[in-house]
Symmetry: C2
Subunit: 562 residues, 2 copies
């Protein structure tokens, strides 16, 4: 048997589109000699479907699509879709062939932590299935089913181990159909799970995952095979659609290809994705692969734009590292012709920040406009000063500036149909060092899941080979430039200290006591915890944040506002 493992990017709720694409991929795989096409978890409806599963007609739409695929498939296919049975819904695997279609697997372990809410929508299956085809037996698992020993929560049973134990003869390999989003920490964890399962069970583990970004979640693909006691072998390039052929008789990876329609899919135009050669480093305790993070964020931008407003974006350049990094990512993702920068200096903006922003635009051949906020700022202040009995305070005056910039960015967005990309980083968002309806705004937060030190690391990795970002941007002390001589360090602890606490709090899930036990300064811990609590309301109104860590703000972070 030759598996055509399809690293596929379904669209959420676009069942017909997904079915057509899968049909084409499977039939293309057949021409390359595949005898079974395998698609990721929930490939027919996309992941995460959320309340789409509440829509009554989804069931019928899926049935029609499955019927049509059964009629037109040249080889059998395994694909993911919900199964509706006796008032319950399962996260299921379907076997579709010219004989019709049937449910052959139901996900047993339903993740309900971090960004996952599967128990909200699905019922657990009883056990993993063992299937037989072309003389081979394989265990079919769906995503979390493989993670019984390694998930963030403790599961009572290991459905893979149980099914292998119950099988009446030896199983040749384990198949895992996944919809597993990318994160810096998740990539090594996933490799560990594949490898340790292969070692423990003594048979190969074949893994096929979704690719593409859906708002905040980025799926990297990472379709691969783990053999017992060998290193995990990646079968498809990450962050791209494609098919890998894997032969079950020889246990060998044979070939890769992409199917025709994909070549014309603007979301996946791979030529644009050409980041400068990056170096790797250990940042905040994690292996930091700048190429991988760059690709992930570019895919996140491109897919979100493609599925919402189109291609054009606008970015406010402040002269700081955050907006510079967002501009570089946008150029890589969309091409410089689709990116516009607005420079919106005030009387407090330094000459350096304007000059550096212009230099950045020139390096990347990005069109820019300089829209001073001075006149508007004076007009607003004039109205307030006339009507108020007290003079506007520093805080009031400081916040008016980013809000006027947001107003200009949204005006540009309305005028030219460009999405405003937010430039906030995770450190600022965590402690609320940011202005709601000001720099917290935008259609998509590109680097809102990278701490300030990680943003610097990314920029420095890029710049190691070529000056992608003017070095004086990286060398200047971070400043919001909302009053004369203002520096971030006036209000915040040094970023390395701050980020280490935040990382232990957010990704590490330590509470106040745990942070102090972990060696952080108690006063600083209490100050940071307090800032985090007080700014929960700001994060509530943030745009979706591209997730690249094991815990990002948004659906994976659920704290009371009171």
């Amino acid at each position: 048997m030759r598996l055509g493992l399809v690293q596929f990017a379904p669209r959420i709720g676009e069942v017909q589109f997904n079915a057509d694409s899968m049909l084409e991929a499977a039939n293309a795989a057949a021409e390359y000699g595949a005898t079974l096409a395998v698609f990721p978890e929930l490939s027919l409806i996309g992941y995460p479907p959320m309340d789409l599963l509440r829509d009554e007609t989804l069931r019928e739409t899926c049935r029609i699509a499955l019927d049509e695929m059964a009629n037109r498939l040249k080889i059998p296919a395994l694909m993911g879709a919900p199964s509706w049975e006796d008032g319950k819904v399962y996260n299921a695997a379907y076997w579709v062939s010219d004989q019709g279609w049937s449910v052959v697997g139901r996900k047993v372990l339903l993740p309900n932590y971090d960004v996952f809410d599967e128990s909200r929508y699905f019922q657990s299956g009883d056990q993993c299935s063992v299937l037989e085809h072309d003389g081979k037996k394989f265990l079919l698992s769906i995503c979390e089913d493989l993670w019984a020993r390694d998930a963030d929560v403790k599961y009572p049973t290991d459905p893979v181990q149980l099914a292998l134990g119950a099988a009446d003869s030896s199983v040749d390999f384990i198949l895992n159909m996944a919809a597993s989003p990318y994160s810096i920490q998740g990539i090594p964890r996933r490799a560990h799970v594949l490898q340790s399962t292969a070692n423990r069970c003594g048979i190969p583990v074949v893994y096929v995952n979704q690719v593409g970004a859906r708002a905040d979640l980025i799926f990297d693909g990472g379709t691969s095979v783990a053999y017992p006691n060998k290193a995990v072998q990646e079968l498809c390039p990450k962050f791209e659609q494609g098919v890998a052929l894997w032969d079950t008789d020889s246990n060998q990876h044979l070939e890769n290809f992409i199917w025709d329609s994909l070549r014309n899919d603007s979301r996946m135009n791979r030529d644009l994705l050409n980041p400068p050669h990056g170096s790797n480093a250990i940042i905040l305790g994690d292996h930091f692969d700048s190429n991988e993070i760059t690709k992930a964020l570019c895919l996140g931008i491109r897919d979100y734009l493609a599925m919402t407003s189109g291609k054009k974006v606008v970015i406010g350049l402040s002269g700081g590292v955050d907006s510079a990094v967002v501009l570089c990512l946008a150029v890589m993702a969309l091409g410089s012709e689709n990116v516009t920068a607005l420079l919106m200096p005030s009387g407090y903006s330094s000459e350096r920040s304007v000059a550096d922003s212009v230099a950045l635009c020139r390096i990347h051949e990005v069109a820019y406009q300089i829209l001073s906020i001075e006149d508007s700022f004076s007009a607003v202040m004039g109205t307030l000063q006339t009507k108020w009995e007290t003079q506007p305070t520093g805080l009031t005056e400081e916040n008016i500036q980013p809000r006027l910039r947001a107003l200009f960015l949204m005006a540009y967005s309305n005028q030219y149909g460009a999405m405003w990309l937010n430039s906030s980083n995770k450190s600022e968002a965590a402690v609320g060092y940011s202005t709601l309806y000001g720099d917290m705004g935008g259609g998509l937060s590109v680097i809102g899941d990278l701490y300030k030190t990680q943003v610097y690391a990314l920029a420095n990795c890029w710049n190691a080979h070529k000056e992608w970002i003017p070095s004086s941007i990286l060398e200047s002390a971070p400043s919001a430039e909302l009053r004369p001589g203002q520096l971030d360090s006036d209000s915040l602890p040094p970023y390395p200290l701050l980020d280490a606490i935040l990382m232990d709090r957010i990704e590490g899930s330590l509470d106040e006591e745990g942070l102090i036990l972990n060696g952080h300064d108690p006063d600083l811990v209490r100050r940071v915890m307090d800032m985090m609590k007080r700014s929960e309301f700001k994060r509530h109104q943030m745009p979706p944040v591209l997730r690249v860590s094991s815990r990002s703000f948004g659906r994976g972070w659920r704290r009371s506002l009171v």
Copy 2:
């Protein structure tokens, strides 16, 4: 046995505060003759705790609080708190007395629909407990356990029925400890559940619920008793803290009281809560109790303010019904001395809207400022016109106006420490007839869960007895006044038609096909569904919305942004 049923308002995560309050309430109840104090579900930690349950030290904090209560309670108490057992967490009931404390019940049915995510955090208990005290036997159920036959989802078993069947002798009554939020549709459903359970089981059902608002969720209390084949009897006034004494021997309600500290609780200063006498009506198919909705929203405002920024609010008055209703609610909730109105006319604002807004402020003795946005608007337009090759379009120009108003409101908020209350209604929010970072902004959305027709209904109910809102506000055709002669009806279907579709889509969970089958015009349905999908990104950045329906935007509405 005399139960002291405590309609209690715990604060989320403030375990020590909650424990102190419960201790005081229980001991006060003892003085009134109670022999057992009963508190609502999760009364020790508040509801919904969400990721608070991930904090390691919560367990120890609860243990210390339970120890202290055991030491100081004059009568035994039943209260709600998590129970940590063998790596699992249950939503549990504790029996606390001078003998110590122990877990006596674990919630069996965990709701995972709408605003609930209990399977994310809790493990299901095996069965409801039957307890014996003072010669009486009672079945202890926690909230959803009573809803096996009536919930939004189908449960495989009815734990109340099972436990009654398994009891070895007759049970005297059923107790339900709840944290059940208010909704217009939920109140009659809850009465039905209590009544039908009492009828079916042939014994009284005693219900004690949380009260108070936690950001979006408003708990009404509604502590009551249902006797077989009699109407449900409410024991405590809704939307207030208090204790009701109920005697298990006579099956009688004896007395009500509030405990001392409550009299000084600013959140619960009941004198302010004095809405005009309202009439009831059927609006959009629901029984619309204007008094109840008014109280719910006032409690929502007051508690959110008390637990975040304090007491002061600022509201932008447009001359329309929405902001007028929000102003009235804020005055009722906080007193006119804590409310400031900003009137921010542009060249497109009618004289009527300014005059009516002034009249509204005079009726309610609310301070107002008139801050024309004209100068700021001209300055912004001037900058754009100089720099852009194309003239700002209508859409661009229209959106600048609400964004400048938002900027003024936030400037006022920063200057005077007042929270900006958002005035968007559910109809606008649903179809995106609103400006992000403009009228979509604010710290709390007060009427974001009321359709436009419901907002009118509320205003008309109030006005039936006294002109609380100048009648010309209610008589003018709705307009955003962003261009000359603009009317909502230029862009939207008539509100009664629109709201009927939205109600069937949102509360009724019908999809496109279902809406058409339900008799709505197919073209209009498709147009409305399209507007809803396209505006998902705006709702993603909305402030928390006070929930008064069975499905509000926010945590109960989870749709993909792509």
